[in-house]
């Protein structure tokens, strides 16, 4: 079994991306192991009396030369709210690296990423890390309104972005699954990757099944340990109840009972 670590990371900066999303960049106290898109960390929430357990967050970026690891924190409840307030100089205890990564696409494949909410983080990481030319990569990013979208200009070199909003304030008006790329061009892709709200991933999975396209999704079941000992995070699959934290969080939709 691969080595895992528990360490205090030093916060380098915390940049607000939109009303409730924050990019937290941290310095690791020892050389980072290789971490791939889809893997996550389990972060301790400090000074919060109501919170007992850690909270899982996907790795958003790794900078091996500076030994930085970044996550995007979207405020959902008390724990994420606390984590979103960290400032330069704070420390955060992380358990890492956790979970299995996405299956990286091979050369020449055409791929489609679909992200919503906090699910954008692993999608952008994979787009950057998979090494495919921009032309092979399309990304559909969905949000409720213009304000909920984050600025992805730094990622324009890694793929062609398409945005949707529920209210039409930015990009295509409607759900990601109603986007023309999904409706008309889906068969042109070799692999589809999705991360975001469960309803969104299920809708994407249904389309991928219809067209018989390889599709992986990243699940966000609630977790206690994050490393396979408590058996609280299970997802019913065709191979029985599996731990999302160790057998996932990335699953091929063929294994799921959706």
């Amino acid at each position: 079994m691969e080595k895992r670590f528990v360490d205090d990371f030093l916060v380098i900066d915390n940049i607000q991306l939109n009303e409730n999303s924050f990019l937290v960049r941290m310095f690791a106290p020892k050389p980072l192991p290789e971490i791939k898109a889809g893997q996550f960390v389990n972060a301790e929430i400090k000074d919060c009396r109501e919170i007992f357990l850690r909270r899982p967050f996907s790795v958003f970026d790794i900078d091996y030369s500076n030994n930085y690891l970044s996550i995007i924190v979207k405020i959902l409840g008390r724990g994420s709210n606390q984590l979103a307030r960290v400032i330069k100089g704070d420390t955060i205890s992380l358990i890492y690296p956790l979970g299995r990564s996405f299956t990286y696409p091979s050369e020449h494949e055409k791929i489609l990423f679909i992200g919503g909410g906090s699910g954008v983080a692993p999608m952008l990481f994979l787009a950057k890390d998979c090494g495919l030319p921009r032309d092979n990569v399309d990304l559909i990013i969905g949000a409720r309104t213009f304000e909920d979208h984050i600025n992805v200009n730094d990622y324009n070199g890694y793929g062609k972005f398409h945005f949707t909003t529920d209210d039409g304030t930015y990009g295509f008006e409607g759900l990601v699954t109603e986007h023309p790329l999904m409706k008309k061009n889906l068969s042109s892709f070799d692999k589809i990757y999705a991360c975001g709200p469960l309803s969104m991933m299920k809708a994407v999975a249904a389309e991928a099944v219809k067209k018989d396209i390889f599709c992986e999704v990243s699940l966000e079941n609630s977790m206690a340990c994050g490393f396979g000992v408590c058996l609280c995070c299970i997802e019913p699959t065709k191979r029985g109840n599996l731990c999302v934290c160790t057998e996932g969080p990335v699953f091929n939709i063929k294994d799921l009972k959706w």
């Binding site: 080595k3 109501e50 007992f52 357990l53 340990c225 408590c230 609280c232 299970i234 109840n241």
Partner: protein, 303 residues
């Protein structure tokens, strides 16, 4: 140097800090953080005769200073354990103890007999206290009669070290402890989780698929400590203290109250290397208090 060694019947522990069943998998997961041979012993995930898928999701609810779980003994059954897991872990240099479960006395015996064949399993922990299964489990642990029957039958089938794990969901835990001691248990471990419940006020739904589940973590520590103290005063066999132990100080409190050794459980979810911190903390404490051996601490409560 201080002496951390402890003896639980025939079991020689290099130190009194062990890992609780259901919170440390099959030792490999914790070994991915540090060398597992450093701990006193590992109580493996609850094992039943046949494969069990466990309860439906959601199985976990966070509470003030703890958590509720409703895992329901998910495991692949004892044969799978013997064929696939045991060969991978048997050479870890620390006692590996199988947590034996059943829905009937016969199942407990069958699992015990199979585990008895394994050279590197020097002891079993008879779980008569799981609150998360419909049949068996806690039913045996909350009545003196049930506890008596299952302990007697398993004792007949097993000559290595037999530890019986007690449920706190009883009026008088000393009564059960005395019964299992009378039937030949070599040690008792306590406590398993408290039956509890959590409701989402917004949706009016229970937070666990099973409605009720087992409470663990710091929330139960004072209750566990009280029970360990009561049981240590009522039986002669060694007591293993469990319940909300998060650090060395907690562990030492259990030893002082009468435990010969301890298990740490839920704390591992927050800090998988906590056993090492507890071992170091106990060492420091013994040095500070001019004690030569950890056994001097057991039952040393000043009254």
């Amino acid at each position: 140097m201080v002496d951390l060694r402890v003896k639980i019947h025939k079991l020689d522990l290099k130190n009194p800090v062990m890992l609780a069943s259901g919170t440390c998998g099959f030792a490999e997961e914790i070994n991915s953080f540090f060398d597992i041979s450093k701990v006193g012993g590992v109580f493996l995930k609850g094992t039943t005769l046949n494969n069990r898928e466990g309860n439906n999701y959601p199985r976990m609810a966070e509470t003030a200073s703890g958590m509720l779980n409703a895992v329901g003994l998910q495991n692949k059954g004892v044969d799978y354990f013997i064929d696939y897991i045991y060969p991978r872990i048997k050479n870890y240099n620390t006692p590996l103890i199988v947590n034996v479960n059943g829905s009937t006395v016969d199942e407990y015996i069958k699992v015990t007999e199979k585990v008895d064949q394994l050279e590197h399993i020097p002891a079993i922990e008879l779980n008569i206290s799981c609150p998360n299964v419909k049949e068996g489990g806690m039913a045996f642990g909350i009545s003196p009669k049930g506890a008596k029957t299952v302990t007697r039958e398993v004792r007949r089938a097993y000559s290595k070290t037999l530890i019986v794990k007690l449920s706190p969901n009883v009026t008088d835990i000393t009564e059960i402890a005395k019964v299992v001691e009378g039937e030949g248990a070599d040690s008792v471990s306590l406590i398993n989780t408290f039956l509890g419940m959590s409701v989402n006020a917004e949706t009016r739904k229970p937070r666990l698929s099973t409605i009720t589940g087992g409470l663990s973590g710091p929330a139960i520590k004072p209750l566990a400590l009280r029970m360990v103290w009561q049981v240590a005063g009522a039986v002669k066999i060694p007591v293993i203290g469990i319940g909300g132990i998060m650090n060395a100080e907690d562990a030492i409190e259990f030893l002082i109250a009468g435990a010969s050794a301890i298990q740490t459980g839920t704390a591992l979810f927050k800090n998988p290397v906590v056993p090492l911190e507890i071992i170091d903390g106990i060492k420091d404490y013994l040095l500070r208090h001019n004690l030569k051996s950890v056994s001097e601490l057991t039952g040393s409560l000043h009254l």
